[in-house]
Subunit: 326 residues, 2 copies
């Protein structure tokens, strides 16, 4: 574990424990089967990054109540719901080194437990009576589903450019990070300035996080990932490392990359050849650089807040985005 | 078209037109693909029973605002979302005589558009700021997904009894009818008595509706249904006509029914043989009788309201439940 990760985990240990307890407490399904499937995705070593973000953002605004925990688990349920559906859609085998839910319980149950978790997320949010934040939560869900559909509709399309890629990752990933921070600021009754600043922090963190995620698929091995390396490409997902390299490659290499991408059954040798081309044409460096820019934008957004332990943790979280290997 | 249906449609024509317009207006997706898929299920000749119920229940409570239309389409989106997911789960081919969405756009897009519609339903509800009703809407979604999971987990299980069947249909169907009526009464600021009375109307109407639906699968032909007759049984769904007949059959006939049910590829002759046994052992009559009891309970719930055109329509709707052929 990196020093940074150890430090962050030490500083937020109490928050994580509280989040964990609430996650167990509020699941409350009528059926044991729902508890099993939901539990499989909810309690499988997730980083709790989204709920943590909400709790920390609330602290940045001196929030004194307990609804931050409530909303934070609402977002984690929402996140879990999308993971269940996404793994099914992506025909993934593994997540965090474990078989995905649909490989154990089948597609039908997995779809429905995803629906249950989506609904549970909204019920928990509604239970607080905070209408502005309920709107944020339902808006996140709308955006995430549309981001995924957008990505899907561009599957294997070599014409996908960086602008459209950014649109996709904003919807499918960053709105949830942004929403976590915005909810916290709204909850605390923060000033418009602070609401915007924290939202900007969240949105940029989310974009950096997704870019780093897309990078990891090309720089980590299967063991680190807890899933098969090259999965994005096998699923026809063209991400920034590939988009940037395609943009910069000469015609011959571009054609070679296109040929590898076109066949989802590419061999390990072909994948390595592609990775070498991504390296050669700077696709990996470019992605790292762009992610770093968003990390910086996230940090800049916090400039209005006076330094504190919480600010430090949020800075660390931003840096951590680029240190992940899985 | 039956006289009853013609009369009801005449009396609610303006309401249906208003609902139709709002359904178009609020869909508002970012992607044209989402509009296509959502439109395929939303604008394919649905009866608009749930939104209509909400609008009529609001009128029973002299509601003067316009949020009844808003919530009514929220429920129709929710309903459409569950149809998309259910058709996929049931591996259905046709709905209302048209190919199901997943056969046109694939499973992945269909799952995600379902998620979008679920979220849209909640966003529209949240937009009104009426927290009590938002809770009803999200609660409905939780119950429906769990009702479907419950049904799924009992697939092909001959031990399913009437009590458990009732639990399933209450969750998967009746909570939405009940929620439509309850939302309307809450919206109108009705007295506790009236909220309860209208909820009871809705719940009983929903149960009667589902029982009638389960009956239709054994008494209508494929052309009337707009989908293959015997679909429930092919999907391993044991419904009241079968549950009741199994209960009453002698061992030999019970075994014969079990053998037919056990093989989802049963022939038309076998299906006809099963239907004859359902008839012989009174499974169809029993289901009709139970549905009729719930129609009566629904009507009884309206006793507190003074007679009006709206009350008459709600009575007619209850009767119509048992006249449907598709």
């Amino acid at each position: 574990m990196s020093d940074l990760k150890t430090r962050i985990l030490g500083l937020v240990a109490d928050d994580l424990a509280a989040i964990e307890a609430e996650l167990e407490l509020h699941l409350n399904p009528h059926l044991d089967l729902v508890r099993q499937v939901a539990g499989h995705i909810l309690f499988s070593g997730g980083k709790r990054l989204r709920p943590l973000l909400l709790v920390l953002a609330a602290r940045m605004c001196d929030y004194q109540g307990s609804y931050d925990k409530t909303f934070s688990i609402s977002l984690e349920y929402l996140h879990a719901a999308t993971l269940l559906h996404d793994d099914l859609i992506d025909e993934a085998d593994l997540r965090r080194g474990r078989p995905v839910a649909h490989s154990i319980w089948g597609n039908a149950t997995t779809i429905l437990v995803g629906d249950f978790l989506l609904a549970r997320a909204l019920t928990i949010a509604a239970g607080t009576g905070k209408i502005e934040i309920i709107k944020v939560v339902s808006g996140i869900t709308e955006n995430m589903s549309q981001g995924e559909i957008h990505q899907l509709s561009r599957k294997g399309d070599l014409a996908l450019n960086e602008t459209e890629y950014r649109e996709v990752i904003w919807r499918k990933t960053a709105v949830l990070f942004e929403g976590a921070c915005r909810s916290a600021a709204l909850l605390a009754g923060a000033s418009e300035d602070r609401i915007e600043a924290l939202s900007r922090y969240g949105a940029n963190l989310g974009i950096a996080f997704q870019m780093a995620d897309d990078l990891i698929d090309y720089i980590s091995d299967t063991r680190d990932l807890g899933k098969k390396a090259g999965a994005d490409l096998r699923e026809g997902k063209l991400t920034l490392p590939v988009i940037a390299a395609l943009e910069m490659a000469n015609r011959q290499d571009r054609n070679r990359m296109a040929a590898i991408i076109a066949n989802p059954q590419f061999t390990e040798n072909e994948f390595n050849e592609l990775k070498a081309l991504l390296e050669q044409y700077g696709g990996l460096a470019y992605t790292r650089e762009k992610a770093q820019e968003h990390v910086q934008l996230a940090k800049d957004a916090l400039a209005h807040f006076k330094p504190s332990e919480t600010t430090d943790i949020l800075y660390d979280l931003a840096d951590f985005t680029l240190q992940r290997r899985a």
